[in-house]
């Protein structure tokens, strides 16, 4: 069964992508229908796949020494992420039917989206590190294509380029780690690396561990690679929801979670992961406090929430990270899509121009508030349970100062969430904006995700069961939803955390009364430069391009100079050979 479903969830969307491309842009209606049909079929297949999770290899195609065997392993980690990618993917596609209506290049849009969905499922299902890397790069390519989708806009082009280059540099980390593992193990199989990690030389293992950390940080927009995600918000909003909130950015979390048992014992690794998550969570939350672009606020909050997941892994809570990943995927997709409806309706992303939109688009307001409350961690929404779970793991297994900072981060989250909701939907009207009502496809996707934000925490027991039975190396204990609920509700830390969240809301409310939610702040200069890392990016980019421009002078086009190059190369080679011999 799984042997059919696995290729299905990868190839169905790809088939859809090619079909839609071939249909051509002259038939937009057909393209919409095809995209919806293929993505929903994929979602169904992925849900069925959940029931067949196994730690066995289901497909096995040998490709020779340098490429290893192409294998797929639909274990719990893989199938749960596949389901997230495919279900949220299909909702994003449904949403796009309204959002992208009238666009001239629908073929390219749906091609990239569906190609991405297939690649994302391939990435998590692959049992071969080479093909993990292979799909990893395809997702980066699709992400690039979609960020730059409105490519007559130079900002979109620059944002796409930035995302591509940064994630590719991170990809080099995955490549290096994979190859070091291969050289030591003679195999690209993930299961081999997990099984034999303890037999590897310590240096090799820590090289692999830290290379993978670099790759994961770049992909998940974590410190110090956090600069690309906010600029990626030039993408069409359904894409931001799918790729830059719910799925692709989770690939880094996936990588860390997948190899946690292998790298757990590497000295300093867990602490590094913890710090990466902590710093990302903190600085992104601070950035979200002052951002005025609605999508950028959401992007910062994504970085911040991904930081929580990374922090959880650093503290040893693989399960907690996956649980929060699930919650976050749902509520953040909801927030992005709702924000997309707002943006689609009013035609701007600038929160300074919005205000008092709530009464004019009640449904969007309601679902947005649901998502926002989940993000802030208010009971009984899914974000509450998973965030509390992470904080609980943090309290137990990480230094107390780290826990304190993460708790502070939860307060900041509540603060910027409230600010965002207030600025968009409440307060006074700041600008005359024409409001178009959201279409029915949009409303459909929003309703499903809003319902999801209420219920996905109930799947905790099922998720835990899947992970604990099919991940032989992770040694997870089985815990039911009920046990989680009682554990969280009985912990004093939970109530403390809720107090912090309430304080965050409170401060935000106080400021909102005084209309000081935007404008000058001592944080602005830090945020504008991504805490200085923008400068590093600029230096590298400008340095390289300036050097390249200067180097052009060496191509003088003069014959004598060309001959001089030949003669001097000959002399150098002669001298080198002479000295070598």
């Amino acid at each position: 069964m799984a042997a059919i479903l696995v290729p299905l969830v990868i190839l169905l969307p790809w088939l859809g992508a090619i079909t839609i491309w071939l249909v051509r842009n002259e038939h937009p209606r057909l393209q919409h229908i095809l995209a919806v049909v293929f993505s929903i079929l994929t979602a169904i297949a992925s849900l069925v796949l959940l029931t067949t999770a196994t730690s066995e290899t289901v497909i096995h195609i040998p490709l020779g020494k340098a490429f290893g065997d192409l294998t797929f392993v639909p274990d719990g980690l893989a199938v749960s992420l596949t389901a997230i990618a495919a279900v949220i993917g299909s909702l994003a596609v449904v949403f796009s039917v309204d959002y992208m209506r009238g666009d001239e290049q629908l073929g390219r849009y749906y091609f990239l989206v569906l190609f991405f969905i297939g690649a994302m499922t391939g990435l998590v299902l692959s049992g071969n590190l080479l093909f993990t890397f292979f799909f990893w790069e395809i997702t980066a390519l699709c992400s690039y294509g979609l960020i730059s989708f409105y490519n007559d806009d130079p900002k979109a082009v620059a944002g796409g380029m930035k995302a591509l280059i940064i994630t590719q540099v991170g990809g080099v980390g995955l490549l290096v780690g994979t190859l070091i593992a291969f050289v030591n193990l003679g195999s690209f199989q993930i299961s081999d690396l997990l099984a034999k990690a303890s037999t590897l030389p310590a240096v090799s293992l820590s090289l692999i561990a830290f290379s993978f950390l670099i790759a994961a940080a770049a992909k998940s927009a974590q410190f110090p690679f956090h600069t690309w995600l906010p600029d990626a918000m030039e993408a069409p909003t359904p894409v931001s929801a799918l790729i830059h909130a719910a799925t692709m950015v989770n690939a880094g979390i996936y990588l860390l979670a997948r190899f946690y048992p292998a790298f757990e014992g590497v000295p300093g690794w867990k602490m590094s992961v913890l710090l990466v998550g902590l710093i990302s969570a903190l600085i992104a939350a601070l950035s979200a406090l002052v951002a005025t672009d609605l999508k950028r606020v959401l992007a910062y909050s994504t970085v911040s929430q991904l930081g929580y997941m990374v922090y959880a892994i650093g503290a040893g809570g693989v399960l907690a990270s996956q649980f929060h990943l699930l919650s976050h995927a749902v509520f953040k997709a909801l927030l992005f899509l709702a924000a997309g409806s707002v943006i689609h309706s009013v035609g701007t992303r600038d929160m300074r121009r919005m205000g008092a939109l709530g009464s004019r688009m009640p449904l969007v307001r309601n679902v947005f508030i649901i998502g926002a409350l989940a993000l802030a961690g208010v009971p009984i929404l899914n974000g509450f349970w998973s965030k509390e779970y992470i904080l609980e793991v943090g309290l137990e297994h990480s230094p107390i100062w780290a826990y304190a900072i993460m708790l502070f981060g939860a307060g900041l989250t509540a603060f910027y969430t409230f600010r965002m909701v207030w600025l968009v939907f409440f307060g006074r009207e700041r600008d005359q904006l024409n409001v178009h009502q959201a279409g029915s496809a949009m409303k459909f996707a929003l309703r499903i995700l809003a319902a999801g934000s209420f219920v996905t925490w109930l799947f905790f027991g099922g998720l835990n069961g899947l992970l604990s039975t099919t991940l032989p190396f992770h040694a997870l204990e089985h815990e039911s939803t009920l046990e989680l609920v009682s554990a969280i509700l009985s912990a004093p830390a939970t109530w403390f955390a809720l107090l912090v969240v309430a304080l965050g809301f409170g401060f935000s409310w106080v400021r909102a009364r005084g209309f000081v939610l935007f404008g000058g702040s001592w944080l602005n200069p830090f945020v504008d430069t991504s805490f200085g890392f923008e400068l590093v990016n600029d230096l590298v980019v400008q340095g390289v391009s300036r050097f390249a421009e200067r180097l052009r002078a060496t191509q003088t086009g003069e014959l004598n100079w060309n001959i001089f190059g030949m003669v001097s190369a000959l002399l150098v080679v002669l001298v080198v050979l002479w000295m070598g011999a």
Partner: protein, 506 residues
């Protein structure tokens, strides 16, 4: 001499070359001009299609009996894994280029010369890769060079192509002088020119090793001009960007690689220096990758950008070969040959796609202007197929999956890490970062083509013909298939890799 053996692969193009030329010259009456052009194209295509027959026979024989020796009169030739791979590349790209040129070159003054020279060049290249005598190697090489000078300077009305052709000629001729001096040095030491005999004779104690090293340096630099090793590359961006697009594809796709094979064959006869050559190849490879990428980054003319990217791709191949020679890892050689094959596909496709755009946007409007990067804007609207093909080509060159370039680069990486040598591993990381850097100029090309606001040139563009579209489709499909199933080409690259290791005796 049997035309159905490998020799047919050399003889058929060489004989058909003057025939094609004559077919284009007899009967100079104006009214027959169109029919004659048709005849020329048809004959050329026929000749190249017939050549597939001896190729398939040679492939079968090779896999049944191993390395084949045969002669054309007194010239002895030898078919091994490398010859087979390169002959396959030449024939494949040659066929598609001739098909492509059908429309592209239609009505050009001297069309018959174009096909005659192209066919001759193909025959000479296939001869070169199977030469078993070091002087014959030079003769084939020189013949190939001469036909390529004429092809580069084909648009003799264009000052820039004349300039490019002239520089190419002078540098290439200087290089071949160096090669000849090297041959003279070897001849003076061992008194024979047969490669197998030299390889044994150089081990005799009477041989002066220092002068052999000198000869090796001369081969490296002499042939290196054609390979475009970095300080010797200066002719390449001019020649590749000024030649007719089909020829740019041939030059980038096979001619520089054939030069590389000539270099390897010549170096291999100097037994016992594989380590030195390995290090030098890696050094030049590194230089090529970095320099090629940096220079391509700021180019504004598409073909010139692609020409610089050829420098960096030669660099990847050199790195793979260097690894194989230095540490005896056969995977490196296989990876290098795989990348060589992929580069033929991807760069050939890139140049042909650019050619297709130039055909639609310039040639059919009677202009010979160069295609600027900015002219690409919105090209997908009028030329969706070409835009897709060009995207596939450049993304493949940038090493993005699921395209062939990713897999061959990967194979080279694996070989590099297998050496467990820290320097080589560092080189591999450098190579990976350079791949990222190269996306800095490849990705914007793709982006530009999908703009919604088309450039003036695109708006004025004319439709293409199927002979232009067909080669693009074939190559695009092949690049994608190899991206998923890299082992499909093993039957060509594995014997080539094994032959290289045997040549260098490790």
């Amino acid at each position: 001499m049997n035309l159905l053996t490998f020799s047919g692969l050399i003889v058929i193009p060489l004989i058909s070359s003057p025939l094609v030329y004559l077919a284009g010259r007899v009967g100079t009456h104006e009214t027959t001009l169109h029919r004659r052009s048709f005849l020329v194209r048809g004959l050329a295509l026929l000749a190249v299609l017939i050549s597939w027959l001896p190729f398939s026979v040679a492939v079968q024989k090779f896999f049944m009996y191993g390395v084949q020796k045969f002669n054309i009169e007194t010239i002895w030739l030898r078919v091994d894994g490398i010859s087979l791979l390169m002959a396959g590349c030449v024939l494949f790209l040659g066929t598609l280029v001739i098909l492509f040129s059908g429309s592209y070159m239609a009505g050009e003054v001297g069309e018959e010369k174009y096909y005659a020279m192209l066919l001759a060049m193909m025959g000479l290249m296939i001869g070169l890769v199977s030469a078993s005598d070091i002087f014959n190697l030079w003769v084939w090489f020189e013949g190939m060079a001469i036909s390529s000078y004429l092809l580069v300077a084909f648009y003799r009305e264009q000052p820039a192509s004349l300039e490019a052709g002239m520089k190419y000629l002078v540098q290439s001729a200087t290089g071949s002088v160096l090669v000849l001096i090297g041959i003279a040095l070897v001849l003076a030491q061992v008194g024979t020119l047969d490669m197998a005999e030299i390889a044994e004779a150089v081990l005799r104690s009477s041989v002066n090793r220092t002068s052999l090293l000198g000869a090796g340096a001369l081969f490296l630099i002499g042939f290196g001009v054609k390979v475009a090793l970095v300080p010797l590359h200066t002719w390449l961006p001019d020649a590749h960007s000024q030649a007719p697009s089909g020829i740019s594809a041939m030059l980038s796709g096979v001619v520089i690689e054939i030069g590389l094979i000539a270099m390897l064959r010549a170096l291999a006869v100097l037994t016992g220096f594989a380590l030195s050559w390995g290090i030098l190849l890696m050094a030049f490879g590194t230089l090529n990758i970095l320099y090629g990428n940096l220079l391509a980054l700021r180019q504004t003319v598409v073909k010139r950008m692609l020409a610089y990217s050829s420098l960096s791709h030669v660099g990847y191949v050199l790195l793979g070969l260097g690894i194989a020679l230095y540490s005896g890892i056969e995977l490196g050689a296989q990876g290098a040959f795989f990348h060589l094959f992929n580069h033929m596909l991807m760069k050939g496709l890139a140049f042909l796609s650019v050619g297709a755009l130039m055909y639609g946007m310039f040639l059919r409007n009677g202009s010979h202007a160069a295609l600027k990067v900015s002219d690409l804007a919105g090209a997908a609207q009028k030329y969706p197929l070409v835009a897709l093909a060009f995207s596939i080509a450049v993304l493949g060159l940038g090493g993005m999956p699921p395209l062939a370039g990713f897999m061959s680069k990967w194979q080279i990486f694996v070989a590099g890490f297998e050496t467990q040598n820290n320097w080589i591993v560092a080189l591999m990381i450098f190579m990976a970062l350079n791949s990222v850097l190269s996306l800095g100029y490849y990705a914007p090309l793709v982006n530009l083509m999908y703009h919604k606001e088309p450039s003036q040139q695109v708006l004025a563009g004319k439709p293409l013909t199927w002979t232009i579209a067909l080669p693009l489709i074939v190559m695009s499909l092949l690049i994608i298939v190899l991206g998923f199933f890299p082992n499909l080409i093993n039957w060509l690259t594995v014997p080539a890799g094994a032959e290289l290791m045997k040549m260098f005796g490790s």
